[in-house]
Each structure stands twice: as C-alpha cells, then as structure tokens.
C-alpha cells in the first residue's frame, strides 16, 4: 500500500502503573529535545506529543507502519527504557482507532477522573506547540480541530462533566451552592494537615481570597499560611473569631469535638442572616453533629462528601455509553474525510495543508 498511516503510540494510566509512568515521563527539556529529534525522523510527516501526568502519547502521520517503531526506538533510547519492557505497557493504535482514542482523550472519557476537563486544555496546548513548530499538517490539523469540536459537543450535550468527583471539589461546589461566588467568602482552615491543605487549595482555585489557618501548633499554622498566602491564627481564638468566617474546613487530628454546639450558637447570634458552612474532614469528627439542626448552619462530613462524589462519578459513568456513541459517529465521519488523504499520500496532504489550517 502506498498511502500514509495514522498512528498513536504511548502509555497511559490504563496501560502502565504509576511507577512505570514516572520513568516514562518527560520533563520540558527532554520533551523539546525529543520533538527536535522526531522532526528529523525520516518518514514521519506529522506528529504531536501529548504529555501529562497520566499519559504520554505520540500522534503521528507516517509514510509507513515502520516509522511508528522508529518513534518508539527514539523515545525508549532517550528514556533509557528497553523496547521489550515498553511494549508490555504500550498503547499502540492505528487507523480509525486513533481518532476514537483522541476524541475520547480530549473529551475526558479516557481520564483517570472521568469527565475532567483539564485534559482538553493539555491536548490543546500540545497541539498548539506542535502546530507552532510546524510539526502538524493537513491530517493532524483536521484531526485535532475535530477532536476539540467533539469534546465541546460531548460536554454540552451530555452530563459527563456534571458534578464534582473528588471530595475537595465536592466541598467547594457545595460552598458555591450556599454562597454563590467564593470571592467574598471568608474561610477558616482548622488543622494544618494534608487533606485540609488540599481542600484549601481547591477553594483558592475557585477564587476564594480570604483564608485563615488555625492549628494547635501555631508555627505549623504559620508555615502553611505562608505556603497558601493565608493568615495564621492561634487555635484558641477560634471560638471567639468563628462568627467572622463563612466556611470552616475542619481537619484536625483532635480526639474530641473541636467545634461544639454552644460555640456555634454564640457565633450565629452575631451573624444570624449569614450562613455558616462546616466541612468536617476529620476522623474522629471535629464538629458536633447537632450544629446542623441550627438554622443557617450547614454541616457536611467526610462520609457525606464521599457519597456525593461517588454519586456524581456513577452519574458520569452512566453517561459513558452515550458519549462513546456520539464520538463513534464523529470518528466515522472524520475517518471518511481523512482516509482519502492518507491513501493519496504526501502530495495531497501537503497541497491542502494551508487550506486546512485552523482559523
């Protein structure tokens, strides 16, 4: 056969465990060097490298199937990885399977956290870089543009991105349900552990500006406050200052209740019209469960958040079939468009290159 072939080669969280992905991952310098090397590889007409924490994938248009093996060799040599070992964890597709895979990746269907949208930006960035360096042509330009369109279509016509699926993001979403914009919400983090820090960062990523950290060890609170760009507060001040906060993330390792009902009652008397949201991530729990009975007080513990995250995840999984069917239709249509170009070979691809450049 004289035509070109479309392939994807790499490893993802589906095919390789974390320890292997760590060895396969490319830092920015190594990725640049590899791109430069591949740009000079004979028979590789077009390529894009997508590298994230969960996947490393080479999308390519090659003169023949043997070029994919050359790409693999170049990568393995650079990463000091034996080809035989790589093949144990390898993802390797060609033809229309490449299209379905890329469309699913871009839509977040192939992500570890199903339906996440960050991957869309990562693929777009990878494609943008390849395009800027002149590594893409008529085929990959069309393929990636169509993949982005398909991802947007899936996001708007299905519920694949609805609801948060991590505990920290569920907590942030609930806070949004109570306060709307988080820009003016005042947040208190009780405890300076890892889970509290992650949740605080999730709040900050959603625009929360005013964050305070209180810990029984003030120096630890100050340390974390500095990391987060927050204020540190002595722990003993919490009952006095509670009324000044809207959201309290509790993540201490205290053996007993830290926030009692009388403390909350006192705080709410000073702010009766403004809701107070407790996110109790501690085990044993930090907040007296009875505070939830108080008007304008909302309390969610770790089990509540995990259950909501599980429900959201199940809802996304229920959409998977519908999303795949939508993408399969688009894959078939796209393959009908690019197959003649691949069959015709480089002359047609290059002749139409400038016409298929994205707007």
């Amino acid at each position: 056969m004289n035509g070109e072939c479309l392939f994807v080669l790499g490893a993802t969280h589906h095919t390789a465990p974390l320890a292997v992905r760590e060895r396969l991952s490319l830092d920015a310098g190594a990725a640049d060097a590899l791109r430069a090397e591949l740009a000079g590889l004979a028979g590789l007409r077009e390529f894009t490298l997508v590298s994230t924490c969960n996947r490393i994938e080479f999308y390519g248009v090659a003169a023949d199937a043997s070029v994919a093996a050359a790409v693999q060799r170049a990568f393995c040599v650079r990463q000091n990885f034996s080809a035989a070992e790589f093949e144990q964890f390898r993802l390797s597709l060609s033809g229309p399977g490449v299209l379905q895979h890329l469309l699913e990746v871009t839509s977040g269907l192939d992500s570890q956290m199903l339906g996440e949208t960050e991957i869309f930006g990562q693929v777009k960035e990878a494609y943008g870089l390849a395009q800027a360096n002149g590594h893409t042509g008529a085929v990959l330009n069309r393929v990636f543009q169509k993949a982005f369109q398909a991802a947007k279509h899936v996001r708007t016509t299905t519920a694949i991105t609805e609801g948060q699926v991590s505990v920290a993001n569920v907590a942030v979403e609930l806070a949004g349900n109570i306060f709307g914009s988080l820009a003016d919400a005042r947040i208190l983090l009780l405890g300076a552990g890892e889970i509290g820090e992650k949740t605080a960062k999730a709040f900050q990523s959603r625009g929360a500006a005013t964050l305070s950290v209180a810990s029984r060890r003030l120096e630890r609170a100050m340390e974390l406050a500095e990391t987060l760009g927050a204020f540190a507060m002595p722990f003993w001040l919490m009952p006095v200052k509670l009324a000044e906060f809207d959201i309290v993330v509790c993540a201490t390792s205290a053996p007993d209740t830290v926030v009692s009902r009388p403390v909350v009652e006192t705080a709410m008397r000073r702010r009766p019209a403004r809701p107070l949201f407790f996110i109790d991530l501690a085990l044993p729990r930090d907040v007296d469960a009875s505070v939830a009975e108080r008007e304008n007080v909302f309390l969610y513990n770790l089990d509540d958040l995990a259950r909501i995250a599980d429900e959201n995840r199940a809802a996304r999984e229920a959409e998977l079939g519908k999303c795949r069917a939508l993408l399969a239709e688009r894959t078939a249509a796209l393959w009908r468009q690019i197959e003649p170009r691949l069959q015709a070979g480089p002359a047609v691809s290059h002749a139409t290159d400038h016409r298929t450049e994205p707007a």
Partner: protein, 283 residues
C-alpha cells in the same frame, strides 16, 4: 380586536408561549440537563408581547387600565411579574428563575382564561375617570407582580435549602442558584414590592381621606392587612428574626394570602355590569 385577533386570543397565545417555556424547562430538568435560558427567555418574551397586545386591546375597549374583574387582575399580575423578571433576570442572572417565572405566568394566565365566569362581567368606571385612582390600582397590582416574583425566589430558596440540609445537592437541585443569592434578591424584592404598595396606598389614602365612604371597608381591611404583613416580614427580616427557611415560607405564604385577598377586594367593589360583548373588545 388587534391585528385581527380578539384580546382573549392574544392572551391565549401569551399563555401558550408561557406554557411552552414551562414545558421546555421541565423537559430539560427531567433530562438532568442545564436549562437553555435563550429558548425559555424567547418564549417568555413572545408570551409577554402577546400579553401586552391583549391587555392593550382590552384596555382600549374599556377605556382604561383593564382591572375590572378577576380575569383582568390575574392577567395584570402575571404581566407585572414578567415585566419585573426581565429586570431581575438580566441583572442577577439567577439560574432557573426564567423557568419558575414562566411556570407562574402560565398558571395564572391559563387559570384565568379557563374560567369564563371570571371574565363574564366587569366593573365599569371603577376609577371614576380619575387617573390617580387608576395609578393607585396599577401600582397595587404591580406590587403584586413583585410579590409574585418574591414567592418564586422564596420557593427556589426553600428547594435549595432543603437540598443542602438533606444532603442531596445533585439532580435538578444542582441547577438552582445559591441560597445566599436567593436570600439577597428576595430581600430586595420584598423591599421593592413594599415601596410600590406603600406608594399605591399613599395615593389611595389621599382620596379616601377626602371621602371615607368611597372605599369599601372590606377592601380597605384586606389591602392594609396585606401591606402590614409584608411590612412586618421586612422588619423582622432586617432585625434578623425572620430568617432562612422561615423567611422563605413567609414569601410564599404571603403571596398566597395576597392572591386570595383579591377576591374579597374585587367582590366588595361596585356592582358589576356585563363584560364587553362576546369578550371581543372592539377597536
């Protein structure tokens, strides 16, 4: 008639547009999808246009603001609520408010159209040719439109509050605005409605003081009672006594009471005469 259609035909068209908005929203919610605001707003706008034409035709036929029977009062209240929705919806961009507003407008307009007896007769010359009295009535009913919207935001608040307290924030609940935003807009609507109603009562009081016999005591009693109830609700809210769920219930209950008070108020007015023949208002 206007453009070949009777006033009631225009009002039927309006009700159908509101109904389509309601059905579209319900369909989206049942599918678990985010509402298509543009579509719902288009149907609300189309319904509003038809309603304006219908009320205009009726107003021209009766030579004044069409507030002469229960049918006209409900139509005017729905029109007021939609008018206000265009301001509140655009300013605050509250998710699902369009759906709830089209639900309310469809209910009020369809019920009023479905009961012909409500439009069989109408009180003539209820304003005695006095534009100030007409303004008094229009302001009072416009304030009811504001309170209708308040009832909607209060209902939405109660739904959101329930979803958060019962720890079921997903499904259709996830499309509701935040309770903070709903509470905020509810307080503003209560204030705005009360200002309008106070202005209406102030205009009416000037004429009542001149001739106390001109106003039926039943009407006076119900109107002042509704005003006092809303004023008390606002006072208690601002003092931090009537909050959250209780404030939400107050918004819903007071509007139900305000709507029910329209019947004794309407019935207590002058003796009715026949409505425009065949309910087709001539140009």
């Amino acid at each position: 008639m206007f453009a070949g259609l009777t006033d009631r035909s225009w009002l039927w068209l309006a009700a159908e547009c509101y109904l389509v908005g309601l059905l579209l929203g319900t369909f989206s919610l049942l599918r678990g999808r985010r509402q298509s605001g543009a579509w719902i707003n288009s149907f609300i706008a189309a319904g509003y246009l038809c309603q304006v034409l219908g009320l205009y035709a009726r107003g021209r036929a009766v030579g004044g603001c069409p507030l002469g029977n229960s049918f006209e009062i409900l139509q005017f209240t729905a029109w007021s609520a939609i008018t206000l929705y265009f301001f509140v919806g655009v300013t605050f961009r509250l998710s699902l408010l369009g759906f709830f507003t089209s639900s309310l407008a469809a209910t009020l307009t369809l019920v009023s159209l479905a009961i012909p007896a409500w439009d069989a007769t109408r009180r003539e010359h209820i304003f005695g040719g006095n534009p100030w009295i007409e303004l008094h009535a229009a302001l009072a009913l416009f304030s009811y439109g504001v309170f209708a919207l308040l009832a909607l935001t209060s209902g939405m608040f109660l739904l959101r509050h329930y979803s958060l307290k019962s720890k079921q924030p997903g499904g259709a609940f996830s499309f509701l605005p935040s309770i903070f935003d709903l509470d905020h807009i509810s307080v503003r609507l209560l204030g705005a409605g009360l200002v309008l109603m106070t202005a209406s009562l102030a205009v009416g009081a000037v004429y009542w003081l001149r001739d106390t016999a001109s106003v039926n005591p039943t009407k006076l009693l119900f109107t002042v009672a509704i005003w006092a109830a809303y004023a008390t609700a606002l006072g208690l809210r601002l003092r931090g006594v009537l909050l959250a769920r209780r404030f939400g219930w107050a918004g819903v209950a007071l509007f139900a009471a305000a709507l029910l008070s329209l019947w004794p108020v309407d019935a207590s007015r002058h003796s009715p005469v026949a409505a425009p023949a065949g309910r087709t208002v001539p140009r």
